[in-house]
């Protein structure tokens, strides 16, 4: 990085206020960023981060306040205005077209052409330097569908760079990245900063923020909630800025509860993704097993095969000593194994259904008469009990799941299973995209379930979560379980070591 004193302020937003009908999303918010600076913007969901960035991106017009870009006043009325000011956006959900190649994506909408025909050679030549800068090992004519999510994200960054972006906004960029891809991205952010490009980094993953941010700006309820300079950035300081109070961290030691030994036993299970690998492990009732690994290590596939929504090629799964018939989720559900899947919107919920219908879906026969007519009062009662127990914030039990926030949607998924006396619950990325407050509630719930003898299998790519919640950790690499860590062996390095494929003994 350059000498801070010589750096130029590339953006200054002052007293930005934005009102929507019934709510003031931003209230006199100030935000600025220097050339080459990495600023993390943190806050709970609804704190105003996205709105502020949408004001900067030209999606929303502020009701009050001024924006100064590189020293001169700027009015950003459209996305095109933002583009020309050098503001680039890398979205949470990737905005790339996977039926096109890398170059076509980078120059989408700005294709160099002659006589109306696209000049492919020029695209290729112009794209290559950006890929080199980002260290993306793919040629411009690689189809995007051949790239991993992390690589696709690099393409998005290349797109922003090709528009000569001076400020790049990254909204939850690591939510679907593997650990190594995350590391890679954080390094790229460092490189961008070296080149004088300012990065606004929005993330719920405070560990990453600690790693990459020069400064942290926190928002709370649409207002500035404070700032942290480089030396002050740590987990607890950020959390207290975000929530405005000290949130107690989940106690690390699992305590005094009854354990049911070998509640879930998975033996020699083989998945379609890694047919040559056999996985075996067990979880006791009352225990939280964290499963770490890089995305693509086959953790979700193992969970899905255990649950029965994906076929298992071999091996067996048993609960309390009773082997489950393979090949159908129904069998696992009967045995008391439930999966809260990674992708809530795609596999966890029928979004357009209301809360009641979602909660009762897996257990409808128990809320119906013998001939299969649904008892609506019964299903509603069950749903209302779960809404109360899980503190789901909703106007009523007949509210569509699609209108709820991420945290509340996750609670609906959990409500479905909690109403059915779980023995084993598989949590696949339980807190992805969920704000700090709801995260804490979900951790508390996992603890509580464990205390009641439920075996908990938690798959997570959030290092902090794995280390903070688990009683024991197993790590996977390319379909294989490479090692197991007991509580006294926990550590980020130990996990990374196993996650990249070394065995435990090699460490010493």
């Amino acid at each position: 990085m350059q000498d801070p004193a010589k750096r130029v302020k590339v953006l200054h937003m002052e007293n930005i206020t934005k009102r929507f009908p019934g709510v003031t999303a931003l209230n006199q918010v100030n935000f600025d960023i220097m050339e080459g600076e990495v600023v993390a913007l943190i806050g709970e969901n609804g704190a105003g981060k996205s709105t502020l960035m949408k004001v900067l991106g030209g999606v929303h017009q502020p009701d009050e306040g001024t924006i100064t870009a590189s020293g001169s006043p700027a009015v950003i009325r459209s996305v095109a205005d933002a583009d020309s000011l050098g503001v680039g956006f890398v979205h949470q959900e990737l905005n790339v077209l996977d039926n096109l190649d890398v170059g076509a994506n980078v120059f989408l909408g700005r294709e160099p052409h002659r006589f109306g025909l696209i000049n492919r050679r020029k695209i290729k030549a112009d794209t290559q330097p950006f890929l080199d800068t980002l260290g993306l090992d793919a040629s411009p004519d690689t189809p995007l569908s051949k790239l991993s999510i992390g690589q696709q994200q690099m393409v998005e960054i290349a797109k922003a760079l090709s528009k000569e972006a001076k400020i790049i906004i990254m909204d939850e960029p690591t939510s679907s990245l593997t650990l190594s891809e995350t590391e890679r991205l954080l390094k790229v952010i460092g490189d961008l900063s070296e080149q004088g490009i300012a990065v606004i980094y929005i993330s719920h993953r405070l560990g990453e923020v600690t790693q990459c941010a020069h400064r942290v700006v926190a928002l709370r309820d649409g207002k500035n909630a404070g700032e942290l300079q480089r030396g002050e950035i740590n987990h607890d300081a950020m959390v207290s800025l975000m929530v405005g109070r000290d949130l107690k961290r989940t106690p690390l030691t699992s305590s005094d509860h009854e354990t049911v030994p070998r509640r879930l036993v998975v033996s020699n299970l083989r998945t379609a993704l890694y047919p040559e690998c056999q996985s075996s492990f067990e979880i006791s009732g009352g225990e939280i097993l964290g499963m770490a690994g890089l995305v693509g290590a086959g953790r979700s596939e193992l969970a899905q095969a255990t649950f029965g929504v994906d076929p298992a090629l071999g091996g067996s799964v048993s609960v309390d000593g009773i082997t489950i018939k393979r090949g159908a989720a129904r069998q696992s559900i009967k045995a008391g194994i439930y999966l809260a899947p990674e992708d809530r919107k795609l596999t966890g919920l029928v979004l357009e259904f209301d809360i009641t219908q979602n909660i009762s879906l897996a257990d409808l026969w128990n809320h119906s008469s013998g001939i299969g007519l649904i008892d609506r009062n019964a299903e509603r009662t069950v749903a209302e009990r779960q809404i109360e127990r899980l503190k789901i914030k909703t106007p009523s039990a007949s509210t569509a799941a699609i209108t709820l926030s991420g945290g509340n949607q996750q609670k609906v998924v959990l409500g479905k299973w909690l109403s059915m006396k779980p023995k084993v619950i598989i949590f696949d990325e339980p807190t992805r995209g969920i704000d700090v407050g709801a995260k804490a509630e979900i951790y508390k719930l996992m603890r509580e379930l464990a205390r009641n003898g439920v075996a908990i299998w938690m798959i997570s790519s959030d290092m902090e979560e794995v280390l903070g919640i688990s009683d024991r950790i197993v790590v996977m690499h390319e379909g294989r379980i490479t090692g197991e860590l007991q509580r006294d062996e926990f550590g980020e390095e130990a996990i990374m070591h196993l996650a990249v494929g070394h065995s435990k003994t090699e460490a010493n």
Binding site: R330, S332, T347, V350, F353, Q357, A362, L364, L373
Partner: protein, 370 residues
């Protein structure tokens, strides 16, 4: 909203809107067809007992197969085979009830034994249901695209019907057994069946097909909107993956939907061929699949799946049939009715997508201003 009717209307916006459209259509048709010397209500040609009976009979036939197609659409599927299947089943039914010697000269036609008409009805229902199940297995279990599967059905069944019938018309009149009761059940009225032929009275103005439709509608309404299977059908249509993740065999649910559609088609094929009196295999039932889709879409089924209702499908069917009847009564050429039908569906869908929210906003503004 204290009034339960109003509350129902609020929850079922689409159905209520389409019911309004049907009502307007009926009024316009009634007023537009008033002529001197007609003995209908207010002197309207539309409101004569014979015309109303005719309209009700047609709604009955079309409604039955539209319910089947509607249920398939709710699973995010489609059934394009209805019209061809009606031709095939019609030919099959008439083969079964006529002596082999009277049938068209084809090996298969001559090879099918003659059976009594009740047996023939059972065979047709069974064949239709099995073909529906076949579609269901191909779509639900083998995950083939429903459009393609039923498109193949559309081509094959029509081809087979023409082939078996040697491309000639097969007539009900060729049967040597006594079909008078079958005719009553298929083409008669409730009065004909319960009392005796040819009298006047309320029961004699309710066609049997309409009675079947009401019975089927009640049963399918309970299945679709009250039963576990119905909930699964909506869930699988909305988000098959999430439904699967809740432990539900979505392939089976989808297969059952197509099976119901096959049964419904067969169920309407029999009265329809008795009503037409003959089956001309090239044109019998042509485009019926499209009328069914139109009725379902008009009635609130979304082709994306997971949306729709039986009352909606019935209203959609009624709108289609009344429109065609209106075009006929006003003396316009019949082909024009399809053009008008297309236009009405188009307008209806546009209003549904954009108009209603616009209207709501307008309404809100007025309230605020007041």
């Amino acid at each position: 909203m204290a009034n339960p009717l109003l509350r129902y209307a609020g929850r079922h916006r689409r159905e209520t809107g389409m019911l309004g459209l049907l009502f307007i259509l009926v009024v316009i048709t009634s007023l537009g067809t008033i002529e001197e010397g007609i003995d209908g209500l207010f002197g309207s040609k539309f409101l004569t007992p014979d015309n109303l009976k005719n309209v009700a009979r047609t709604i009955g036939i079309y409604g039955i197969f539209s319910i089947g197609v509607g249920i398939v659409i709710i699973t995010a599927g489609i059934d394009l085979s209805v019209g061809s299947l009606m031709a095939l089943l019609g030919v099959f039914f008439l083969f079964l009830v006529t002596p082999p010697g009277m049938r068209p000269d084809s090996a298969i036609a001559r090879g099918i034994p003659e059976v009594s008409w009740p047996m023939a009805v059972l065979w047709v229902l069974l064949l239709g249901t099995l073909l529906g199940l076949l579609h269901g297995i191909l779509v639900g279990k083998l995950k083939l695209q429903p459009f393609v599967v039923t498109l193949c059905g559309l081509l094959s069944y029509r081809g087979l019907a023409r082939f078996y019938a040697n491309d000639t018309t097969v007539n009900v009149g060729d049967a040597s057994q006594d079909l008078s009761f079958a005719r009553k059940l298929g083409d008669g009225t409730l009065g004909d069946v319960l009392i005796s032929d040819g009298q006047k009275g309320i029961l004699h103005s309710i066609p049997m097909t309409f009675v079947y439709l009401i019975i089927l509608a009640v049963i399918t309404t309970i299945i679709l909107h009250r039963s576990v299977l119905g909930r699964y059908i909506f869930a699988a249509g909305r988000n098959e993956l999430a439904t699967k993740y809740s432990g539900i065999n979505t392939g089976l649910v989808i297969a059952i939907a197509y099976l119901i559609a096959g049964f419904c088609t067969a169920f309407s094929a029999i009265p329809f061929c008795i009503y037409t009196g003959s089956v001309q295999p090239t044109s019998h039932g042509a485009f019926f699949e499209l009328y069914a889709i139109a009725a379902a879409v008009l009635g609130g089924c979304s082709l994306r799946g997971g949306e729709g209702s039986i009352p909606g499908i019935l209203i959609g069917t009624a709108i289609l049939i009344v429109l065609r009847n209106m075009v006929n009564l006003l003396g316009y050429p019949t082909p024009l009715s399809d053009a008008i039908t297309g236009g009405v569906i188009f307008v209806g869908v546009i209003i549904d997508q954009h108009g209603a929210t616009g209207l709501k906003k307008l309404f809100k503004r007025k309230v605020r201003a007041g």
